[in-house]
């Protein structure tokens, strides 16, 4: 028997397995969490009580940590959108040149990306140890004792100290995406611009940069998403301390649910985090597309 399927039918047929898996493991849990955010549930018993917007009201008005976590998450996201992409971009420009040892250097800068975040957290926690850690030992050896810090114990320093570890781990990711983008910059256009009298900066500004726009969009969107859900490195380095001063929304949602046994509040925080992510990412993607369409 010879069955002929239309092109859309073939497409849906091919999509079906992935759609099924995605529905079961992504869509259903998301809907379940959204439903749970209107319940009071301790995660131990089958008994769930409907509390309406009670959990949202609590986290917005009474939770002593929630707004600190919001502020930290926003700050972390802003820093993540600026520093790792900027450093990754600079490194990509450097490593796109024909310099000796280019390939080993690329591998070296990418290496931290493949290390598990919890391992990165452990490595850096030891380096930040106030008594025996690398940083304070180096400062002592250099006679710079006045700069010694309780890197992860001082609330004015801890978030930034953690962020440095995060930059070390994530910069390679931006680097690879920018490098891939740079490979696609048309050399014909570059040469044509130079023949037309453009300097290095003008070539970069009017040829290289526009060609990298898709790469920049991808790096920024992924940086926003990854930084909004920052969890492992915070959990491994400070656990949200000292005194909840490095708490993040993702970790606070986990803490509420899994450690304090309030799955309703944990779910409400997760939904807030999801809405913030959507509110940032979707307009940015639309803006990027509209600009691509206009070109």
């Amino acid at each position: 028997m010879n069955i002929r399927l239309s092109a859309p039918a073939q497409g849906f047929l091919l999509l079906a397995p992935a759609f099924l898996v995605y529905s079961v493991f992504a869509v259903y849990p998301m809907l379940d969490v959204a439903g749970l955010s209107f319940m009071k549930w301790n995660g131990l018993t089958a008994d769930k009580q409907f509390v309406g917007f009670g959990n949202y009201l609590y986290v917005f008005t009474q939770d002593t940590v929630f707004w600190q976590a919001v502020r930290n998450t926003i700050l972390w996201t802003l820093m993540s959108v600026i520093f790792p992409p900027a450093i990754g971009f600079a490194l990509a420009l450097a490593l796109n040149q024909n310099i000796p040892g280019r390939s080993p250097l690329r591998a070296l800068f990418y290496l931290p990306v493949v290390i598990a975040p919890i391992a990165v957290a452990t490595i850096w926690r030891w380096m930040y140890d106030p008594f025996f850690g690398l940083f304070n030992a180096t400062l002592t050896a250099l006679g710079l004792e006045r700069l010694i810090q309780d890197w992860l114990g001082d609330r004015n320093v801890a978030l930034y100290a953690m962020f440095v570890a995060s930059v070390w781990q994530t910069v390679g990711f931006s680097l690879v995406l920018f490098l891939a983008g740079l490979q696609n910059v048309s050399q014909t256009l570059v040469e044509a611009s130079r023949i037309d009298g453009a300097g290095r900066f003008q070539t970069f500004r009017y040829v290289t940069l526009p060609a990298l726009r898709p790469s920049i969009a991808i790096v920024l969107v992924l940086s926003v998403i990854n930084s909004l859900k920052a969890f492992d490195i915070v959990y491994g380095m400070t656990g949200g301390g000292p005194a909840q001063s490095t708490q993040m929304l993702a970790l606070w949602a986990f803490t509420q649910a899994m450690q304090l046994g309030d799955f309703g509040r944990g779910a409400a925080i997760s939904v807030v985090l999801l809405l913030i992510t959507i509110a940032i990412v979707i307009p940015y993607l639309r803006w990027t597309r509209s600009h691509e369409g206009a070109r």
Partner: protein
């Protein structure tokens, strides 16, 4: 013998073997407990399970260890599935153990208390927690831990402290002497919130007295209205600002212990389990221990093992727990476990620290538990936060009790 009979015998033997294998498979007891800090304890558990398995053919005991937070999370996840362990470790008392009992994860064990005569087996303070719950007896005592101040003898001598403090004021005076000699009086690890909490718990007991302290922890009186609560936060701040080895907010309890071992601080508020760690470090002779001056009750807590309601082999699990806590097994491991809750076990240790702890337990018939076992989980988290804010100079100690009460009042 005919060929047919021979085949029958072979078939019967095979059936027995298969049956035996099936029993062995069916009798695996999953035991979830905390990671063993002391390698000696891990070795002891290995031998105990092997001996039990040898004495009970077909039964195997599989121990799974996790860190404290991971253990709690794993139990929470397991409670909603059919993959729960047969036995799980949890602290005793209404705060932590009570949560799992209330949720129905712990099996009432009255019939095992009768069958194994556990009431005749355990010391009273350890046993008392099993009677706190409504609906029966839950859990079997595993350990009973006391917490007290360990001190570095050489550093005390260097600071000119010749007699141990008997009152809280004397303790503060000694901390002053240590500070004048350039020695930090005490060390804590701030990343694990419960470590510094111990100091606050002890100060509250001294400043408020047993009844008021219990009422504060039960949230029956207002923290904001009790001057002793505010005074306690002020005293805590005095310790963290003047007498504590700094920095401390960025290190954990293990790092604090290593610093204590290295002679960087004179005292550490730890449990009787520290004797085992000092023994492993070959430093027993360098340290002494005394209870927190001014507190009449012993600061401590019970650790229990509970049988899960989801266990398919509760009888085998109870048999294993009975074996684990039996006098011969406990006697063989009393040194490595740092004591025993079995009242028939006698420590033959001549080590001064072991003897000091025996005297401490003998001298105290009343106990108060750690704050994180007295408070519900959400209040515990806020208690940690307020303590850490005071310790890191970000909250006026005079306002700390009010800050905690604000949270407590809002949850009602």
């Amino acid at each position: 013998m005919s060929v047919r009979k021979q085949w029958l015998r072979i078939a019967s033997a095979a059936a027995l073997l298969l049956g035996g294998a099936a029993v062995a498979e069916a009798q695996e007891i999953k035991f979830w407990t905390l990671s063993f800090d002391n390698p000696g304890v891990a070795k002891a558990f290995d031998k105990i399970t092997k001996d039990f398995e040898a004495a009970n053919p077909g039964v195997t005991v599989k121990i799974e260890n996790r860190g404290t937070d991971e253990h709690k999370s794993a139990l929470r996840v397991a409670s909603g599935s059919d993959q729960a362990p047969d036995i799980f470790f949890m602290w005793a008392g209404l705060g932590l153990g009570g949560e799992f009992i209330k949720s129905g994860l712990a099996l009432p064990m009255d019939k095992y208390y009768t069958e194994y005569k556990w009431d005749d087996e355990f010391i009273g303070p350890a046993l008392s927690f099993s009677k706190q719950y409504t609906g029966g007896r839950y859990g079997v005592p595993f350990t009973f831990r006391g917490e007290a101040l360990y001190y570095n003898k050489a550093l005390f001598e260097k600071a000119g402290i010749s007699t141990l403090p008997k009152t809280y004021d004397e303790l503060v005076a000694d901390a002053d002497k240590l500070a004048k000699a350039g020695i930090p009086a005490i060390t804590f690890g701030g990343t694990v919130n419960w470590h510094l909490m111990r100091l606050m718990d002890e100060i509250l007991e001294v400043q408020c007295g047993p009844e008021k302290h219990d009422a504060l922890m039960a949230m029956k009186v207002s923290w904001a209205d009790e001057p002793c609560a505010t005074k306690s936060f002020e005293e805590l701040h005095k310790w963290t600002s003047k007498y504590m080895l700094k920095p401390f907010m960025g290190i954990d309890n293990n790092q604090a212990f290593n610093l204590f071992l290295a002679g960087k601080a004179a005292m550490m508020l730890e449990g009787n389990w520290l004797v085992g760690q000092l023994r492993n470090a070959n430093k027993l002779a360098d340290y002494g221990v005394f209870t927190f001056p001014g507190a009449d009750r012993l600061y401590g807590f019970g650790e229990y093992n509970y049988i899960s309601t989801k266990s398919k082999h509760p009888d085998a699990a109870a048999k294993f727990l009975d074996y684990l806590e039996s006098a011969p097994v406990q006697q063989a491991n009393v040194a490595v476990f740092g004591g025993s809750v079995n009242k028939n076990v006698k420590s033959d240790s001549k080590e001064p620290l072991d003897l000091a702890w025996q005297a401490i337990f003998a001298d105290h018939d009343k106990v108060f538990v750690n704050g994180d076992q007295a408070f519900p989980l959400d209040v515990t988290t806020e208690y940690f936060r307020v303590i850490n804010e005071v310790a890191s100079d970000h909250l006026d100690p005079g306002k700390a009790a009010g800050e905690l009460q604000k949270f407590i009042s809002a949850r009602k």
